[in-house]
Symmetry: C2
Subunit: 586 residues, 2 copies
Amino acid sequence: MSSYQAPLQDMQFLLQQVFDADSVWQAIPALAETIESDTAAAILAEAAKFNEEVVAPLNRAGDEQGVSFDNGQVTTPAGYAAAYQQYMEGGWIGLCGEPEFGGMGMPKMLGVLVDELGYSASNAFNLYASLTAGAALCIHAHGDEALKQRFLPKLYSGEWAGAMDMTEPQAGSDLRHILTKATPQADGSYRINGSKIFITGGDHDLTENIIHLVLAKIDGSDGISLFAVPKLAVDEAGNSGESNGVTAGAIEHKMGLKASATCVMHYDNAQGYLVGRANRGLVCMFTMMNYERLSIGIQGLGSAQAAYSLAAEYAKERKQGSAPGASAEIAPIIVHGDVRRMLLNIRCLTEAGRAMAVMTGLQLDLAKFAEDPHQKAYATKLAALLTPVTKAFLTDRGLDCTIDAQQVFGGHGYIRETGIEQWVRDTRIAQIYEGTNGIQAIDFLGRKLVADRAETLNQLLAEMTDALTSFSRVPAAYVEHQLAQQRQFSDAIAAIAEQKSTAPDLINAVAVDALNAFGYMLCGYYWLTMSERAQACQAKLPVTLVRSKQKLCDYYFTRLVGRFDMHLAAVTCGADSTMQLEAELF
Amino acid sequence: MSSYQAPLQDMQFLLQQVFDADSVWQAIPALAETIESDTAAAILAEAAKFNEEVVAPLNRAGDEQGVSFDNGQVTTPAGYAAAYQQYMEGGWIGLCGEPEFGGMGMPKMLGVLVDELGYSASNAFNLYASLTAGAALCIHAHGDEALKQRFLPKLYSGEWAGAMDMTEPQAGSDLRHILTKATPQADGSYRINGSKIFITGGDHDLTENIIHLVLAKIDGSDGISLFAVPKLAVDEAGNSGESNGVTAGAIEHKMGLKASATCVMHYDNAQGYLVGRANRGLVCMFTMMNYERLSIGIQGLGSAQAAYSLAAEYAKERKQGSAPGASAEIAPIIVHGDVRRMLLNIRCLTEAGRAMAVMTGLQLDLAKFAEDPHQKAYATKLAALLTPVTKAFLTDRGLDCTIDAQQVFGGHGYIRETGIEQWVRDTRIAQIYEGTNGIQAIDFLGRKLVADRAETLNQLLAEMTDALTSFSRVPAAYVEHQLAQQRQFSDAIAAIAEQKSTAPDLINAVAVDALNAFGYMLCGYYWLTMSERAQACQAKLPVTLVRSKQKLCDYYFTRLVGRFDMHLAAVTCGADSTMQLEAELF
C-alpha cells in the first residue's frame, strides 16, 4: 500500500477558481501583503510534502503501539516526538496565528486545507497541533495582554501545547454540573482543584509544557469561568518552571485514535489564570470550541480523502472478476459499477465537503479582517451557521466514506495490516467529540436558523440563487433542481419556526435531518459551482480536472441528489412520532 | 453495564401472531409432531438463558484477549472451550439438523431466532457453531451416504466443528482462479494440496476435530470441486485419528471479531472426500454459503439488538441536560428527541429485520418440507430471492444500528470498557464476508429478479398486496403509501430487465440501491403487518407490546419511509453517470 498523496490540484482549483482567493486576499489590507496564490501554492506543497513524508509513515505504527502511561507519564508512539519537533520547526502551528506574537497571519481559507493535509496523514498526530492552535486562538481572543505575552509566543512556536479541559464524569454535553473549583488568590491568580475526563492531549511528551484551558467554578459562584492552567508553572517572563499540580491520572483505551492521549486530568491546587471575565467561561471556551469544531469537521474530511486514495489505488490494481458484457478476462475491480459507486460517492462528498470547509474558512477570514461592518457582521453570523454543519456533516460523511473505502478492499479491508480499517476507527470519534453531531444539529437548527429568524440563512440562499442563475455551462435541469431544493429548505425552516412555541420538542427531534438536508443542499450547490468554474476556466486547467468535475457533477445530480429529499421529508414530519412512545417502552 | 437481555416477547409475537407458526407447523407432517408453540417458547427461553448467562459474559473479555497462535496451535480466549462444551451438550448445533443423524429436526423459522440470540450474546462465539451447522447442511445435501454416516453425527453433536475453505489470495469474490489441487487416489478419496486464506474457525481448540469443506481443482480439470477434508484423519467408523496434513499457518489480526480465529490454512497431501459431483463444487458449496449468508444477516440483526439493549438502558439512566420546554431539572437523555430518533431507528430496523429473517426461515422450511410441489418450488425460489437481501440489508442496517447505539453513549461510546464500540467492530465484517454486500446485491437484482423475469418477485408482491388490502387496523394512508412503493419497485425492475441487453453495466451499477429499496419496502410491509396483527390479537398480548408496535409503525411511516424513495431514485437513474469517468481519473 503506497502512502498518502495530497490532492493539491483539487485544493488549488478550489482556492483559485472556485473561491477566487487572490481577489479576496487583495481586497483585505491585512492579507494583501501576506498572501497571494503563489505563496499559497508553496505553503500547500510544503505542507503536503511534510505530511506525506514525515507524518503519514507514523500513522499505522502509532495505532499499533498506541500511547502508554507509566508512573504518571504519558509517552507517545515511537517517532512522534521527533516528527512533532520538525512540525514545530516548520512553523505550522502558528500558520494562522497573530503576527505580533509570532504567528504567520495566514488566512483560515488556506489553514483549513493545511489542516486537511495533516488529518489525512494522521488523525492522531494532527490533533495535538490543532488543540494548540485552538488554545492560542482563545487566549488571543479573551486573555489580557499579560496572558497573551506570557503564553502565545510559545504556543504559536509549538514549544508548548494546548488542551481543552471541559468534561467531567457527570458533566459532558451538559456542562452546568461541573465540580472543578477555582479559589481566588491575593496575586490575582486562582488555585484550581478538581478532575476532568476525556482530555485530548491532556498529557504527552511532545512539548516542554502544556497550557490547559480549564472550565471551573469560582468559589461561591455557580457560574462557569475559564482558566489557563499550565502543566509546569510559568514565570512572568514566560519560562516554564516546576510542576504546577496538573497531572494525568490515567489514559483511556479507545476504539481508535490510539496514538492520541485521552487523559483523566487532576488539578491539585494548580495555579491558573482567568481568561476573559469571571462567570463567562463558556462564551470564552466557545471561541476555542468553534475552532476545534471546524478542525474536527476537517478530521472527517481528511480521513475520507486518505481512505479514498487507498481505495482508488486498490481498485485499479486488484484484479477479480470480469467487466459485465466484456470478455471473461480478469479485470481490475474498478470495472465494476458497484465499486465505482462507492468510490464516486466518496469523491463527490469529499470534494464538496472540502468546498464547505473552505467556505467556512473564508467567512472566518472575513469576520476577522473585513473592514465593512456589514460584511464583517454577516460573515461572523455565517461562520457561526456553517461551523456546526462543517463539524457534523463532514464527520458523518467522513465515517460513511471510510466505510465505503474499507468495503472496496473486501476481506482485506478488515485486516489491520491493510491499514484502511484504522481510518474507520480513528474517524468515528469525530462524530462524538467537540459536541456530538446531535448537539451540532440542535445548535444549527435552533440557534443558527430559528433563533436568527433565518436571516443569515436566507441571505446565503439568496446569494446562492444569484450565483446559480448566472451559470451557463452546467445542465439547466440540475440548476432548477438545486433551486427547488433551496426553496424547499427555506420553506421547511420557516414552518419549523412557526411551530416552535407550540412544539418544544420539534427542534431536537428533527435537527439532525435538517442539518443533513442543508449539507446535501450545499453539496449540490458546490458541485454545480465546481463544474461551472472548471469549464469557465478550462484554458488554465488540466483537461482531466475539468472532465472530472463535470462527470462528478453528473454523478451527484443523478445518484446522490435524492438524499436531500429523504432528509427534508423527515424534517417536515413533526415531532409526534418521535416523542410519543413512553420512555419505559424503550 | 448490565448484560444482554433477550427480546423473547417480540420473538414470540413474530412467531405466533405475525407468522402464525402453529398453523404452519401443523400443516407440515414432518413438523407437526416435532414442534408447537409451547415447545418453541421453551426452546427460545432456554437458548436465551444460555446465551445471557454463559456466552454474553465472555464477549468483551474475548475481544480484549483475542485468539492466539503459537507453534501452529490456535487457542481461543479463556472460557470459550468450557462454554462451547456446554453449548454442545445443550444440543444447539443440531437444532435444525436431520434426526436420522442425530439432529433435532426443528424448523428454520425457529432456528433463525436461536441464531439471533447467539449472535446478540457474542458474534465471535456463535460463528463457530454457525459454520458447523452449515457444513453439516452441505454434507447432508450433497454427500454420499458413507460421508453422511461418517461426519454428520459428530457435527450435529458439536464434537466436531466445520469450516468453509474457499478464498485464496488471488481468488476472493472470483473463485475461478483458485490453485488448490485435488489428486485422485485409488481408494476413491483425494489428496489435497494448497493454501487458503480468511478461513473463519479454520483451527481452534474447541472441538476434537474440524471438518473443512475445501474448494479445489481435480488434477487436469479447470472445474472446481468440493471436498470434505478433516483436520484429523477419520476412520470408516467415524473416529478421529492422527493429523491429516491440515494446518493453520497464521491467524489474521483484524478490526474486530478478535475471538474468532481467521486462519491461513495449508493442506499438505491431506486426505479429502469429494462432496457432490466432480466439477460441481461451487453449486454444492452454495448450499453452505446460502446457509451462512442467512446466518451472517442474523449476525447483523443480533448485533443491532444487543447494541439497542445497551443504548436504551444507558439513555434511560444517563442524566444530562433538561427536556425542551420543561423545567431546568436534569433529566435522563431519553427525553431528547435526537436520542429517541437514534433508538427508534434501531428498533424499527431491527424488528422489521427480524421479521425478514423469520420469513426467510419459513421459506426454507417450506422448501424442505412442503408436500405441494408448487408451494415447494415457490418457497425454494423465494428463499433464494430473500437470502441475499437478508444477508446484505440486515448487515448494512446492523452496522448503522450499532453506530447509532454507540452515538447514544457520547464520549463513553468510544471507550473500550463501555463495550458498545466492540459491536461496531465485530459486526463490520458481516458486510464483507460470505460474499460482500455488493455481490449479494448483484445476485439479487441480476439472478433473483431479472433472470427470473421477476416472476417470484411479482408473486411475492401480489401476496403482500392481498394481505395489505385486508388490513383494517392500520392507517389507510400508510397502506396506500406501501402499495404505491410496491408498484414503483415492480415497475423499476421491469424497466431494468428491458434495458439489460443494451446496458451490460446497469445491474452492477444499481444493484445495491435496488436491494436497499426492496429491503425498506419489506420493512414497511412488516411494520404494517406487525401493527395490524398486534391490534387484532390484543386480547392475548401485553398492552405495552400492542402500543409499541402501533407507535413504531407510526415512526416508520413518518420518518423512515422516505429511504425507499431515495434508493429507488438511484435505481432508475441508469448506469451512465457511474460508468463514464475513465478509470485513470479515479
